[in-house]
Amino acid sequence: MENYLLSMNSIQKTFGKVKALEKTNFHLQKGEVHALLGVNGAGKSTLMKILSGVYEQDSGELLLEGKSIHMPSPKAAKEQGIYCVYQEVDTAIVAELSVAENILLDTFVSGKNLFVSKSKLYAKAKAVLEELHAEDIPVQQKAAQLTLAEKQLVLIARALVHSAKIIIFDEPTAPLSIHEAEKLFSVIRKLKSEGVSCVFISHRLPEVFEISDRITVMREGTVVETFETSRADQDQIVGAMLGASLSNELINRTHPVGAPLLQVNGLSDSEKLKDIAFEVAEGEIVGVVGLVGAGKTELAKALFGGMHLTKGSVQLAGKSLKLKHPEDAIKAGMALVPEERRKEGLFVHESLQTNASFPNLRKFSRGLFMNKAAEKGFASDIISRLRIKTDSTETPLVHLSGGNQQKVAIGKWISLDSALYLFDEPTKGVDIGAKVDIFKLVRQLAASGKGCIYFSSEIHEAIGISDRILVMYNGQIVKEFSREEATQERILLYASGGKEELSERKRDTVFI
C-alpha cells in the first residue's frame, strides 16, 4: 500500500434498514485535490460526514498518517485537522458576528482569555485572508452582509487558522457565479501548494476536470473506481457514475407549439424586476437564463403571486390575472417548482404521499374528509412515472436523496393538471440520472400542450431543453434567442451585461 495521508478502510454505515455505505475504501494523498463523484444517494455525503465526525461508522477504520483515529464528533475531527466547507455555508456562519470573529470563532470560544482584543483579532483574521488572496473582504464587517462566495472563503480561512490537513468541499460551486468559482479554484490550488489535501464534491464535470488530480466515483454506497484525472475522460466518469452509458436524448426536439398561453406585459416590482414582457405558447418550453442575482427567482415568484407588483399585467389563456397570493396563481392554472426545494417546495419531515397530495387536497378528499387510499394511489403513480427511488409512499422525504426529493417537488403538481409550469433551477444539486428524468418530464409536459418556463443559470441545460431562451440581466430581459441562435458564448455575454456589437472579446467558458 502506498503512503496515504488518510485511508478509510471498509467503512460500513446503515441508517435503520438502509445501507448507506458498504465496505467503502477511500484514500487521500497529501496535497492532492481529490474529486468525489456519484449520483445523489451514492453515499458521498455519508462518507464525508463520517470523515468530518458528524456520523460514526458502524465498522471499518480511519487511518490518518498511518495512525488509527476515532472521531465521535465534528470537534474531534477538527482536532485531527479535518475541516468541512458545507454547501449550506449559512449554517456554519454566525451572521451577527464580524468576519474576523467568524474566522477565529473556535479559537475564542475555547480560548482561555475572558476578554478578546479586537485589534489582535482583526490583525490575525486579516493575515489569514491575505494568505487566501481574499484581503478584499473587510474583517470588521458583519458576516451577514457577505456574499455566499465570501462566506465560503471565511469558512476556508477558519480551517486554515487551525492548520487543517484535510478540507472537504461539499458542492462549493453550486451557488457561485463563474467568476466566483474561478476564484475559489485559485484558493484551492493555493491550499494544495501548501500541502493541504482537498476533497472536492461536485456535480459539474468540467470543473472537476479543471481542478482535481484524482477522481473517485461512488455508486450505491460503495466506491466504483478511482481515476487519475489526466488519464480519464468524461464519458468514462459518467459511465462509472450511472453504471451504464447515458443516452443523449436531450438534444434534438422538434415540436410544434400551439396557441399563445401566457402574456406578460410591463411587469415591474418595487425592487428587482423592470418592465418584463414576454409570451409563452402552449406546448412551448421557454428558458429564462441569467447569472445568480439576475432576477430569475423574483420573476418566477412574481408570476406565481409571491411578490408585490407595482406595474404590468399577466394574462393566462386570455384571462387577466390578479396575482396577490400563490393561491390565485394556482387557481388560474400555474404550478411553481421553487429553487429552494427543502425550504420552499417540500415538507421534508412528512411522507411522500402527504407531500404529493398537498397542492390539490380537494381531489384527495371526500367532502371534508381525506381519502388516504386516493393519496396513496397518486403517490404510487408519480413514483413509477418519475422513477422516484423510495421504500414506500409513507417514507418521510428526509430519507430521500436530493434528486428524488426534487422529483416529488415536481410530481406534486401533476394532479392539478396546470396549464403553465414554472421551474426555478430544477436541476440544482441534482445528479445526472435524476436530471435526465427531470428533462424528460419537462418535455412530456410540453408535448401534452403545457407551457413551461425553465429558469436556470446552467446555460447549457437551458439550451438543451428550451425552444426559446430569454436572457435576464439586472432585473430585465435583455435578449431573446431562438433555439438555433443560442450559444453559450452569446448567452453568457448578454447575461453578464454585455452586448454583441461592442464586444469582440473571446469568452473562455468553463461549461461544456
Binding site: K343, E344, L346, L361, S365, F369
Partner: protein, 339 residues
C-alpha cells in the same frame, strides 16, 4: 469498533423505546403505585372523579394543541378562561340573560381574543410567545377590572348597592354537575371535543392544512395555502376552547371565580407536551393531549389521596412539563442528527 456499535445502537433503542412507550409506561407505573398505596384509588368513583377533574384542563389543552400544530403558541388561554368564567356568571347573575346567550357570548369573547392574538402575531409580526404573554396580562387585568376584583355568585352584594338580581340556573349548572349514562356531563363534553379534534386534525382537509402550515409555512404558501388565514383560525379556535373551559368551570363550581384559569395554563401546556411523546407522535396531537391531561390528573389525584399539600403541586406540574419537554427535545435532536 464492535463495542461502539453495540453501545450506540443500545442507546438508540433505549431512546426510541422511551419516546414511544415512555408516557404510557409512566401512566401504568403511577396507577399501579397509587393503587398499592390506597384502596380508594382504583375505584369507579375515583376514576370518574379524575376524568371530571381533567375535563377543563383538557379543553384548554386542545386549544393549545391547535396553536402548536400551526407552529404557534398561546399563553393567553388561562386568562381567556378566567374572563370567560366571570363573563358567563355575570350574564346570569347580573344581567339575567337567557341560557343560549349565556353560552354564546363568552364564546364570542374567546373568538375576539383569538382574533386579537393572531392580529398581533400574523399582521404585526410579534413572536407568538411574547404576543400571547402580553395578551395574558391584558386579559387577566380585563377580567378583574370587569368584576372589580370580586368573584361572582348568586345574590352577591353589588358595589352600586343592593344584591344581584339573577341566579345561575339549574339547566346551566347541569352542564358542570349533571350526569348522563353514568358519566358526568363535563366528561362527555371533553370526550366529544377530544374526538372531534382528533378527527379534524388527522382525517380532514382542514387538519392537513393546519399540520402542513406548521410543518413549513413557506412551502405551504407556495402550495397555495393562505398561511395568515390558517394561523388566524388556529388562534380563534384556541380562544373558543379556552372560553368553553371557562363556561364549564362556572357551571361546575356554581360561581364566577376570578383567576380561575391562571393555574390551569401550565397544566394545559404540560398536557400537550406529554402528548408529543405518546406512541412517538413527535408533534401535537389530540389523543396525546388527552392522554397528557390524564397523566397529570391521575398524578395530582393520587398525591391528594397521599395528602401531599396543595402548595407543592406546582412542583409536580412543572416537573412533568420539564420531563416531557426533555424527552421531546432529546428525541428531536437524536432524530435530526441523522438527517
Amino acid at each position: 469498533m464492535q463495542a461502539v456499535e453495540k453501545k450506540s445502537s443500545a442507546k438508540e433503542n433505549a431512546i426510541q423505546f422511551l419516546f414511544k412507550y415512555g408516557a404510557i409506561a409512566l401512566l401504568v407505573f403511577i396507577v399501579l403505585y397509587f393503587s398499592t398505596i390506597s384502596e380508594a384509588f382504583l375505584t369507579y368513583g375515583n376514576f370518574t372523579d379524575i376524568l371530571r377533574s381533567i375535563s377543563i384542563v383538557t379543553l384548554l389543552a386542545l386549544g393549545v394543541t391547535f396553536t402548536l400544530v400551526v407552529n404557534g403558541f398561546d399563553l393567553s388561554v388561562g386568562s381567556t378562561m378566567s374572563l370567560s368564567t366571570v363573563v358567563t356568571a355575570s350574564l346570569m347573575v347580573w344581567y339575567e340573560m337567557p341560557l343560549w346567550l349565556v353560552l354564546v357570548l363568552p364564546l364570542l369573547v374567546g373568538v375576539a381574543i383569538g382574533a386579537l392574538n393572531s392580529f398581533l402575531i400574523v399582521v404585526i409580526g410579534i413572536p407568538d410567545l411574547l404576543a400571547t404573554l402580553g395578551m395574558m396580562y391584558i386579559v387577566a387585568g380585563l377580567h378583574r377590572t370587569y368584576t372589580e376584583g370580586y368573584s361572582i355568585y348568586n345574590n352577591m352584594p353589588l358595589t352600586s348597592g343592593g344584591t344581584a338580581p339573577g341566579q345561575l340556573s339549574e339547566a346551566f349548572l347541569w352542564i358542570g354537575q349533571g350526569k348522563m349514562l353514568g358519566l358526568p356531563v363535563p366528561v362527555w363534553i371533553m370526550l366529544v371535543m377530544v374526538l372531534a379534534t382528533y378527527v379534524v386534525l388527522n382525517h380532514t382537509r382542514w387538519g392537513r392544512i393546519l399540520q402542513m402550515t406548521g410543518g413549513n409555512a413557506e412551502a405551504a404558501t407556495l402550495s397555495g395555502v393562505n398561511v395568515k388565514k390558517v394561523k388566524f383560525a388556529a388562534y380563534v379556535i384556541s380562544g373558543i376552547f379556552a372560553s368553553m373551559a371557562g363556561i364549564l368551570f362556572t357551571a361546575r363550581v356554581g360561581s364566577g371565580q376570578i383567576d380561575a384559569g391562571a393555574p390551569l395554563m401550565m397544566e394545559a401546556v404540560a398536557a400537550v407536551f406529554v402528548g408529543y411523546s405518546v406512541l412517538g407522535a413527535g408533534k401535537p396531537n389530540a389523543l396525546g393531549t388527552f392522554f397528557g391531561a390524564a397523566v397529570i390528573g391521575i398524578l395530582l389525584n393520587g398525591l391528594t389521596i397521599l395528602n401531599l399539600p396543595y402548595y407543592a403541586f406546582d412542583i409536580i406540574k412543572g416537573g412533568v412539563l420539564v420531563i416531557a419537554l426533555a424527552v421531546t427535545y432529546v428525541y428531536a435532536k437524536h432524530k435530526f442528527a441523522r438527517t
